[in-house]
Structures are given as structure tokens and as C-alpha cells.
């Protein structure tokens, strides 16, 4: 009986090992683009048979696992810091895959839209604004009756690119925030509760009345959550959607593609927009298998070309053509064991 069980398991293990014919790619990181990536990788599998296993553990996790070389690629909404790049050892390409928005969502019965300004948002998270019917909020929303409900800030408990984008914006737009908290993937939040991933934050905001949280637009849309209109640099209250996100990307894009587009100068641009990137080493030798390197290249090409069809339906903005051109050029610099992939 035991012998049969052991034999059966041995057979299974051998089959499993043998069945490793098809190329499988492993990635980890940002939850910001996860709704888009899970759709993209699903379609990619259906059309090409290549399995892409992407675990959304947060941008911080993605970057660290890429540095540790336990994954093939990473996803991040925060570009690598100089410390991270030096730890990585060799050059890491940042390939943008789409544009998204970090929206401020909240849970107030019957209220679907609210105008907010960066200083108000900062003060809610800093604990200086304790109730929703605070005069500062009421003043810019004269038509809405705000309840005397405590403000519960919700943030990310894991190292997050979304946190980076959110704090990057607040650092630019609010001096108090810049001094007290600053920008980063993991911050020292003075108040509130933490959720795991964009998903966790959305879940908590949904459950806690009076909660305010920051999530990627897709999460708010998918769960019918209320979204705030934010006053941008030019003084306009802008709603986050594909147009306002694309308008925010109307900046000069450098060759290395690591650009922040928060606090945009564009009068119709949404101020907390961001690119999200896939990070790969320029030298793909760590993949150990040339076929894998080629598949990774094909995946990246597909994501930035045909894959862009899937962005709009999930409320992400597609990459501007100018960016795609730079990506194509950068992808050709990928090498495997000294030789260019192409």
C-alpha cells in the first residue's frame, strides 16, 4: 500500500519534471497593473502557449526578487533607486507597459464624487483632518452634505510602487508632506490601517465606512468605488480617466524611460498618473536558457504592441507612440551571453 503510494508519487514527480517542455516565465511585483497583466498573460497563454506566472507581491518585492534573481522579470510602478541599481550589479532596463492612475477612493454612503486637494489628502493621512465634515473639505464641496464620520486612512502594508507614485505626488504638491513623510515604497504612516496590495486597500476601503485609500483606477472601477476629483497644478479639478491620464503623459520622455508624470503641468491632466514598468536585466544570461531569453523578448514586444489593445477596456491608458518607439530601440539592446538577441 505504502509502496504503491510512493511509486505513484515518484511517477508523478518524474512526469512533472519531464513535462517542463514549454517555456515558462516567472515574474513578480506591482499590483498596480495586475488587472491588466493578468488579462494580458491569460490571452498570451491562449495564443502562444507560453505560461507567464506573475505574482503581485508589490513593486518592492518585485525589485528585490529581480535583484536576487529568483524571478525572470519584475513589475514596478517605482523606478529603481540608485541603491537598488547598484545592488543589481548590472544594468536593468525599465520597459513601460501602460499608463495608469492612482485614484483617491473613499467610503461615504451615498456620495459618489468628491473634490479634493493635495493638502487635504495629505492632512487626512497625517491625521490633521479627523472628520469628513471638516470645513476645508466642505468648502470645496458646497453641494454635498458631509457626515461627521471619522476619517480612516488606508495605505499599503507591503512595499508598493503605488505608494511611491502617491507619495511622489504629495511630496511635490504639499510641503508638509514632503517634510514629514516624503516619497518611497514603504512609508512611516502615522495613522490608519494597512492592506496587502492594491486589492487589500480596495477591500478595506470597501469595508470601513469613512475610509479613504489610494488605489489604481482599475480597482476602483471594478468594485464600483467612489473616486475623487483632484485639483491639479493648474487649479482644475480633474477626474481620472483614460484621457486625463494620457494628457498627463504629455512630457518629454528620456531614453531610459524612468520618468515621473505626477503633478502634471497639463491643465487637463490627472495629477496622480504614472507609467508602470517591467524590469529586466539588459544581460539576460541569468535566465540560463537562450530560448527563455527569446521568449521574454517576445513577451515584452507583444505587451507593448498587440497587448496595448487590452488597456482601454480595463481603464488603463495605452502607451504613447513616442514611448513605444524608444522601447523598441531599448529592447534591441538585450543580450544573452554577450550576443544580441536579435
Amino acid at each position: 500500500m505504502v509502496k504503491k503510494l510512493l511509486l505513484g508519487t515518484l511517477l508523478l514527480v518524474l512526469t512533472g519534471l519531464a513535462g517542463a517542455q514549454g517555456v515558462e516565465l516567472t515574474g513578480a511585483g506591482a499590483t498596480f497593473p495586475y488587472p491588466l497583466y493578468s488579462k494580458m498573460f491569460d490571452v498570451y497563454y491562449q495564443t502562444t502557449g507560453v505560461k507567464v506566472n506573475y505574482q503581485a507581491i508589490g513593486s518592492g518585492g518585485g525589485i528585490q526578487q529581480l535583484i536576487a534573481k529568483t524571478v525572470d522579470f519584475a513589475g514596478s510602478d517605482a523606478p529603481m533607486t540608485p541603491e537598488e541599481e547598484s545592488k543589481a550589479g548590472s544594468e536593468v532596463l525599465h520597459i513601460p507597459t501602460c499608463l495608469g492612475a492612482v485614484v483617491v477612493t473613499f467610503n461615504l454612503k451615498g456620495i459618489n464624487e468628491l473634490k479634493l486637494t493635495p493638502d487635504i489628502i495629505a492632512d487626512m493621512y497625517l491625521g490633521n483632518i479627523k472628520y469628513w465634515n471638516d470645513p476645508r473639505i466642505q468648502k470645496i464641496n458646497p453641494d454635498i452634505k458631509l457626515p461627521k464620520l471619522p476619517v480612516t486612512p488606508v495605505y499599503r502594508s507591503d512595499g508598493s510602487g503605488t505608494t511611491f507614485v502617491f507619495s511622489d505626488y504629495l511630496t511635490k504638491a504639499d510641503i508638509k508632506w514632503a517634510e514629514k513623510i516624503g516619497r518611497g515604497k514603504t512609508l512611516n504612516w502615522p495613522k490608519g490601517v494597512g492592506g496587502k496590495g492594491n486589492a487589500g486597500v480596495a477591500a478595506l476601503v470597501n469595508q470601513i465606512e469613512g475610509a479613504v485609500g489610494y488605489v489604481e483606477l482599475a480597482y476602483a472601477k471594478q468594485n464600483n468605488m467612489a473616486v475623487a476629483l483632484i485639483k491639479n497644478k493648474k487649479g482644475n479639478f480633474v477626474k481620472p480617466d483614460i484621457e486625463s491620464i494620457s494628457k498627463a503623459a504629455d512630457v518629454k520622455i528620456p531614453e531610459h524611460l524612468k520618468v515621473s508624470i505626477t503633478d502634471t503641468e497639463n491643465p487637463e491632466g490627472y495629477p496622480i498618473s504614472s507609467f508602470t514598468w517591467i524590469l529586466v536585466y539588459k544581460d539576460l544570461s541569468y535566465l540560463k536558457d537562450k530560448k527563455k531569453a527569446q521568449e521574454l523578448y517576445k513577451l515584452l514586444y507583444w505587451m507593448t504592441h498587440e497587448g496595448q489593445h487590452y488597456t482601454k477596456e480595463l481603464d488603463y491608458a495605452p502607451l504613447p507612440q513616442s514611448v513605444v518607439k524608444i522601447i523598441e530601440k531599448n529592447l534591441t539592446t538585450l543580450t544573452f551571453e554577450g550576443k544580441k538577441l536579435q
Binding site: L6, T9, L12, V13, T15, G16, L17, G19, A20, E24, T26, A28, P35, S38, K39, F41, D42, Y45, K51, N53, Y54, Q55, A68, K69, T70, V71, G195, K196, G197, A199, G200, A202, A203, N206, Y219, Q222, N223, Y286, K288
Partner: protein, 274 residues
């Protein structure tokens, strides 16, 4: 006089109430699981793999993953633990036995998340990737104390006469142990194995940094693999109702596996003790 009677009545009522309250959570949790998970218990749940939000997905890859990872963990842990248990039982006074007993207890005290960290450092980083095998190794380490104890205790219950009878028939220590002692201790050993199996099947923390997760059905233990606890953790903390549904269904399946194995092993103890 009356106070004594009062206190007695209150006491009796108290311990009954508290005892009922103690087992209440079992039924509350089971009923909650059933209420919310029964709708998810359809064919999709066990035949489909994870899919993006909006597509009809299931828990197949996680169910298979749990079975594979737990079984491999049991296979890894059994030989070492059983043989170590034999040694501790047969030679309790030797230094090695005493050290082993202490070591076994120490392992039992390691928080499961710490086991995950160490196995990440031992296996995932050097191997250059996450894998089901790393997850199995982490779970196997958690199994060791239970199986060693179960083996040692079962063997120590065997009367001395058995050994002496075997020796007088000409068998040496090896033959005695393998052909007499272990077979008699087998029910107890199996009980230990089964109860450990059910315990680690539900563990999540050790798998977070080792097995990683995989939305696809994967039979290759050298690659990342999903497992029911990982699925439940990720889906439960998400905002999507359909994922909550799947998580409830997966919880029911996991509890089914755990309870079944647990009950079988307890019935085994009863039979054996009789």
C-alpha cells in the same frame, strides 16, 4: 450556607456555559463557511484553474498543488523522523537521544514564518527561483517533531517481552526492529504522519517565500506551485466578490481534507489503543 449553594450552582452553570462557548466557534465557522461557500462548490471550482477577474476560474491548480506539496513533504520528512524516533525510543539514555529529543522540541517551537525565511535563504536564493520543492522542504521541517514523537511514543509502548521473544528466536536488533517493533508501532506512526499531514496542509506562512504561487496547473516540483492556503490568502484579501466566493469554496475543500485526515488518524488511535 446559602452562598455555598449559590456558588456551586453558578460554578456548575459556568463551566457548562463556557464549555459550550468553547466549541461554539467550531460550528459558527463551519456554518459560515458552508453558507458562503456552498454556492462556490460547483464543478468549476475543481476543474478550472485560476483566471483573471471576470473570467470563470476555479481552484484546480491550488488543489493539485496542495496535494503534491504536502505529499512530497511527508515523503521527505518520514524516513528521517521515523528512524530518529526509533533511535530515541530504543536508546533513550544515550546522549544522541537526549540531544535529538531537545532538537525536536526546538524545531516545534520555530514560528512558521521563520521557517519560511530560512528555507528561502537555503533553497530559493541558491536555486535561483521559487519552487514547490522548497515549499515541501519547509513543510517537512515542520512535520519532523510530530512524527519523531509519535514514533518514539508508539515504540515505547511496546512491551519488553516482544523484543526478548524476538531475540530468543535468533533475530538481531535490525530484524527485531524492522520485522517486529515497527510493524507493531505502525498504527501510532501512521497516526502521527496523518495528523502532521493535515496540519501542514493548512499552513500558509512557510509557503509565502518558497512555493510562491502559480496561476497555472503545474506538476513540476522545481517550479513555483500554488496551494489552497495561498489561494485563500490572496483571494480573501482582494476586493472582488467572485474571488471571495472561490476562496470560501477553497476553504471548504481545505477543511474537508484537513478534517477527513484528522478524523481518520484519531479513529486510528482509538483502534490501536483498544
Amino acid at each position: 450556607m446559602k452562598t455555598r449553594k449559590y456558588m456551586d450552582k453558578i460554578f456548575k452553570a459556568g463551566i457548562i456555559t463556557f464549555s459550550i462557548l468553547t466549541i461554539a466557534p467550531l460550528f459558527i465557522i463551519l456554518i459560515t463557511l458552508l453558507k458562503w461557500g456552498i454556492n462556490a462548490l460547483n464543478l468549476d471550482l475543481i476543474t478550472k484553474i485560476q483566471r483573471p477577474v471576470g473570467e470563470r476560474g476555479g481552484a484546480l491548480n491550488s488543489i493539485v498543488g496542495t496535494l503534491i506539496i504536502t505529499t512530497i513533504a511527508t515523503i521527505i520528512a518520514s524516513p528521517i523522523s521515523i528512524l530518529a524516533g526509533v533511535y530515541v525510543a530504543e536508546f533513550p539514555d544515550k546522549l544522541i537521544s537526549k540531544i535529538t529529543a531537545v532538537s525536536s522540541r526546538l524545531i516545534a517551537g520555530i514560528p512558521s514564518i521563520v521557517i519560511g525565511i530560512v528555507v528561502y535563504l537555503w533553497c530559493v536564493k541558491p536555486m535561483g527561483g521559487y519552487s514547490a520543492l522548497a515549499g515541501s522542504i519547509a513543510l517537512a521541517i515542520m512535520m519532523i517533531p510530530n512524527v519523531v514523537t509519535a514514533t518514539a511514543e508508539s515504540i515505547m509502548m511496546i512491551p519488553k517481552d516482544y523484543r526478548e521473544a524476538s531475540r530468543s528466536l535468533g533475530a538481531n536488533f535490525t530484524r527485531t526492529t524492522l520485522k517486529v517493533i515497527i510493524p507493531f508501532a505502525l498504527p501510532g506512526i501512521l497516526t502521527g504522519l496523518l495528523s502532521s499531514f493535515s496540519r501542514i496542509a493548512g499552513e500558509t506562512a512557510p509557503l509565502l517565500f518558497t512555493s510562491f504561487g502559480n496561476p497555472f496547473l503545474n506538476l513540476n516540483i522545481l517550479k513555483p506551485m500554488s496551494a489552497l492556503p495561498l489561494l485563500i490568502y490572496n483571494y480573501a484579501t482582494s476586493p472582488y466578490r467572485e474571488w471571495h466566493q472561490i476562496a470560501w469554496g477553497a476553504s471548504l475543500i481545505l477543511i474537508l481534507i484537513v478534517f477527513l485526515v484528522s478524523i481518520i488518524s484519531r479513529l486510528g488511535v482509538k483502534k490501536w489503543k483498544a
